[in-house]
C-alpha cells in the first residue's frame, strides 16, 4: 500500500481520529499540562485566600470546592495523564514496537478524558456548587450531604476509571506482546518496567474506585445504606474501599516517576544504572506492599489496635524497597562523569525532595505519632513533597530529556536551568513551612486560620506564586523550542543516553520500528 509512508494527516482530523502512539502521547501531554494549569489555578486561589488570616476572596464553601477540584484535577487530570502520555510516546520506541498493541482503543482512552473533565469543571456553575468534600470524598459528606453535582462527579470518576483501565490494558499488552526479538523482560528499560507494574496496579484498583462511587450513587439515589449506620452500614466502609484504591494510587503516581529518573540519571552520569535487577524487584515489592497498607490513612477512625499495628508495620516496610531505589540512584552517580543539564537538575531535585517527602511519610506511618499529624498541614507538606517534587519534577525532567527527540530541536538550556532554580526555591518556600504549621496544629482544608500560623502561611503563599510563575517559563521554553528551537544534529542528543529510542532519527519519525530492531547489549541493560 503505497500511500503508507506518508506522515500525519493535516488538520483536526489528525488528532481526533488518530491511531498513532506519538500523536496520542502528544495529546495526553498537552492535555495534562492544561489540567496542570487548571489545577494550579485552583491552588493559587487556595493560597491567595490563605495569604492572610480572615476571609478575603472566596467564601468557605467555594474554598472547599477549590481544595476538592485542585486535588482531583491534579491527580487525575495532570499527573496520571502526563505519565500515560509519556508511556505512549516512549514505550513502543523503547521496546522496538511499531505502535501500541491496541491503537484504536488507545485513542479512545484519551478522548474520553477531556469531556469528562469539562463536565466536572462545569459543576462549578451548578446550583449548590461543585463537589466540596475533598478529593477523598468521604461519606456521608459526599452522599447525604452533598450537592447535586456529586452525581456528575460520580460518573466522571467512572469515565476516568474506564480511561485508565483501557490505557493500562494497552500498556500491558504492548509490553508483554510487542517487544522486539531479543528484548527480554530483564533487558527492558526501567521506565518500561515501572509502567508495566503501574499498569497492573491500575487495572487492579481503578475498578475498586468504581465500586466505591457506585455504592455512593446507590446511597444517594436509590436508598441503600452502605455508608449509613442507621441502616446497618458504616461510613468507615467507604474509607476502606476508597483507600484500597487510594494508596496504590499514590504509587501509580510515583512509580513511572521512578522509571524516568532511572533513565535520566545514568545518562548524565555516563555510567550504567546501578543494580538494575534490584530496581525491578524493589518496584515490584513496593507495588505488592501498596495493597496491604491502605488503612494508614485511617489511624484515627477508631480501628481496633490489632489493625493499627498491622497497617503500621506494613507501611513502615515500604521504606526498605524505596530505600533500595534511592541508594541505587546515588550509586549510579558514584564515580560517574556527571554533568548537570536541566533534566539532570530536575532529577537531583527529585532525589533530595522526594527522599524528604519519604521521610515524612515514614513519620506519618507511625500510628501514635500520626494521631497528631493526621489531617494537619504536615500531611499536606508530605504529599506535595512526594507528588510535586516527586512526580511533577520527574515529569518536567522527562520533558526536557526527550523533547529534543520528539521535535528535533533543542530547548534553551539557560532558560531550563533558570526554571529549575526558581522551581526549586519556590517549591521549598511553599511547602517546607507547611511542616511547621502542621506540627503546630493547623488542620488542613480550612479557609481561615488562627493568628499564630499567619507568617508561615504568608511565606507559603509567596512561594506558591513563585513556583507557579516559573511554570510560565517552562511553557514558554517548550513552545519556543517547538517553534524555533535550534535543530539537533545528533540522533542520540545526549552523549550518555542509552536505549532504542536514541537509535531512531531525530526528530522521531511518525512511524518507528516498522521492522523490529536488533537488540544488542549496547541498547539495553545487561
Amino acid at each position: 500500500m503505497g500511500d503508507h509512508h506518508h506522515g500525519p494527516a493535516k488538520g483536526l482530523s489528525r488528532w481526533l481520529f488518530t491511531t498513532n502512539h506519538k500523536d496520542i502521547g502528544t495529546m495526553y501531554l498537552w492535555f495534562s499540562f492544561a489540567m496542570f494549569i487548571l489545577g494550579g489555578s485552583f491552588a493559587m486561589i487556595i493560597r491567595a485566600e490563605l495569604f492572610q488570616p480572615g476571609m478575603q476572596l472566596v467564601d468557605p464553601l467555594f474554598f472547599n470546592q477549590m481544595t476538592t477540584l485542585h486535588g482531583l484535577v491534579m491527580v487525575f487530570g495532570a499527573i496520571m495523564p502526563s505519565f500515560v502520555g509519556l508511556a505512549n510516546w516512549m514505550i513502543p520506541m523503547m521496546i522496538g514496537a511499531p505502535d501500541m498493541a491496541l491503537p484504536r482503543m488507545n485513542n479512545w482512552s484519551f478522548w474520553i478524558l477531556p469531556p469528562a473533565f469539562l463536565l466536572l469543571a462545569s459543576t462549578l456553575f451548578m446550583e449548590g456548587g461543585a463537589p466540596a468534600f475533598g478529593w477523598t470524598f468521604y461519606a456521608p459528606l459526599s452522599t447525604t450531604y452533598a450537592a447535586p453535582s456529586v452525581t456528575i462527579f460520580i460518573f466522571c470518576i467512572h469515565v476516568l476509571g474506564i480511561s485508565s483501565i483501557m490505557g493500562s490494558i494497552n500498556i500491558i499488552a504492548t509490553v508483554m506482546n510487542m517487544r522486539a526479538p531479543g528484548m527480554t523482560y530483564m533487558k527492558m528499560p526501567l521506565f518500561v518496567w515501572t509502567w508495566l507494574i503501574t499498569a497492573f496496579l491500575l487495572v487492579a484498583v481503578m475498578p475498586v474506585l468504581a465500586g466505591a462511587v457506585t455504592m455512593m450513587l446507590m446511597d444517594i439515589h436509590f436508598g441503600t445504606s452502605f455508608f449509613s449506620a442507621a441502616g446497618g452500614g458504616d461510613p468507615v466502609l467507604f474509607q476502606h474501599v476508597f483507600w484500597f484504591f487510594g494508596h496504590p494510587e499514590v504509587y501509580i503516581i510515583i512509580l513511572p516517576a521512578f522509571g524516568v529518573v532511572s533513565q535520566i540519571i545514568p545518562a548524565f552520569a555516563r555510567k550504567p544504572l546501578f543494580g538494575y535487577d534490584s530496581m525491578v524487584y524493589a518496584t515490584a515489592s513496593i507495588a505488592f506492599l501498596s495493597f496491604i497498607v491502605w488503612a494508614h490513612h485511617m489511624y484515627t477512625v477508631g480501628m481496633p489496635v490489632a489493625g493499627e499495628l498491622f497497617f503500621m508495620y506494613a507501611t513502615m516496610l515500604i521504606a526498605v524497597p524505596t530505600g533500595v531505589k534511592v541508594f541505587n540512584w546515588i550509586s549510579t552517580m558514584w564515580r560517574g562523569a556527571l554533568t548537570f543539564e536541566t533534566p539532570m537538575l530536575f532529577c537531583l531535585g527529585f532525589l533530595v525532595l522526594f527522599t524528604i517527602g519519604g521521610f515524612t511519610g515514614l513519620m506519618l506511618s507511625i500510628a501514635p505519632a500520626d494521631f497528631q499529624y493526621h489531617d494537619s498541614y504536615f500531611v499536606v507538606a508530605h504529599f506535595h513533597y512526594v507528588m510535586v517534587a516527586g512526580a511533577v519534577f520527574s515529569m518536567t525532567a522527562a520533558v526536557y530529556y526527550w523533547l529534543p527527540k520528539w521535535c528535533g530541536k533543542m530547548y534553551s538550556e539557560t532558560m531550563g536551568k533558570t526554571h529549575f532554580w526558581i522551581s526549586f526555591i519556590g517549591f521549598n518556600l511553599t511547602f517546607f513551612p507547611q511542616h511547621f504549621v502542621g506540627l503546630a496544629g493547623m488542620p488542613r482544608r480550612i479557609p481561615d486560620y488562627a493568628l499564630q500560623f499567619a507568617d508561615f502561611n504568608m511565606m507559603s503563599s509567596i512561594g506558591a506564586f513563585i513556583y507557579g510563575s516559573s511554570q510560565i517559563l517552562f511553557l514558554y521554553n517548550v513552545i519556543a523550542t517547538i517553534v524555533s528551537g535550534k535543530p539537533v544534529s545528533d540522533d542520540k542528543v545526549w552523549d550518555g543516553a542509552e536505549g532504542l529510542e536514541w537509535t531512531v532519527p531525530t526528530p522521531a519519525p511518525y512511524h518507528t520500528f516498522e521492522t523490529p530492531p536488533k537488540v544488542d547489549a549496547s541498547h539495553a541493560h545487561s
Partner: protein, 321 residues
Amino acid sequence: MTTETSTEYEKYYVPEKSKLAVCATIGLILSIFGASYGLNEMTFGDGSGSWGILWVGLAIFAGTLFVWFRTTIRENIAGMNSAQLKKSYVLGMFWFIFSEVMFFFAFFGALFYVRNLAGPWLAGEGDGGRMNGLLWEGFQYSWPMASTPQESIGGAGNQLIANNGTFESYDKSMAFGDASAWYAWLPLWNTLILLSSSVTVHIAHLGLLDGNKKKFNLWLGLTVLLGIIFVFVQAYEYYEAYEHFGLTLNSGIYGSTFFMLTGFHGFHVMMGMTMLLIQWIRSVKFGHFTADDHFGFEASSWYWHFVDVVWVFLFLFVYIL
C-alpha cells in the same frame, strides 16, 4: 491499509485513522450527562434532567460498538491480523476480565466488612464498638439483618442520625430457610442453570475444535437459552422480594448488599449472554469461526465462565452462609 514490514517479520496491523473512538466518546459522555441530570431530577427534583439524552447516548454508544466489532471481525476475515495481534486481543480480554474481578472484589469486600465487623460493632460487640449501645440501644446483630439499627431505636424521627433516610428491614430474607422445601428455593435452581451453562459452552467449544459446527451451534444456542432462563428466574426472584418479602433496596444493609451483588451480577450475565448470542448469530447466520480461528467466541466464553465463578461465590456468601 496495513503497516508494511519486512518479509521475515510478520506484520503488525496498525489501523489507519478511525472515527470509532470519537463516536464512542460522544455516546459515552452523552450517556453520563443524561444519567446525571436524570437522576438529579429524580432525587433532588431540580434541574431539567432529561433521560432522553441518556437513551440517545446509549444508542450512539451501542451503535459504535457494533461498528467497531464489525470492523475488527472484517479485518480478521480479510487476514490482516497477525498471530501477534491476536495475542494482543487475548491479553486485552484477559486483563479486562481481571478488572471486572476487581470490581466485584470491592462489593464482596464491603459485604465481608459489614457482616463481620461493622454489624457486630453497631450492636456493641467487639473492639470497634464497645460503646455503641449508647446509640443503638436494643439493636441485636444477626445476618441477614433482622432489624436495622434505626428500627431498633424507634425509627427515623429519633434525634440521632435523623437525616440519613429511612431503612426498614425485610419480612423474609433470601437466605436458605426451609430445608424440607429445598426444591422450591429458586437460587438453587438458578445455580444449577448457570453451572450447566458453563458446561454447555465448553461442549460447544469442543465441538468447534473438532470442526463440528453443528454441535457448536446447538450447544452454544443452548447456553444462551440457559442464560436467558437464569435472567428470568432472577427477575422473578426480585419481583418476589419486592412484592412478597418486603425486601428492597431500602431494607438496610442486607437489602443493599443483596441487590448490589446480585444486580451487578445479573447485569454481567446479560452482557455475557449478549456476547454469546452475537457469536451464535455470527456462526449460524454468517458461518464464522473455524477450529483454529474463533477468538470472538473464546473471549465470550471466558467472560461467561467468569460470570459463573462470580455466581458461585455469590451463592456461597449471599445466599448460603
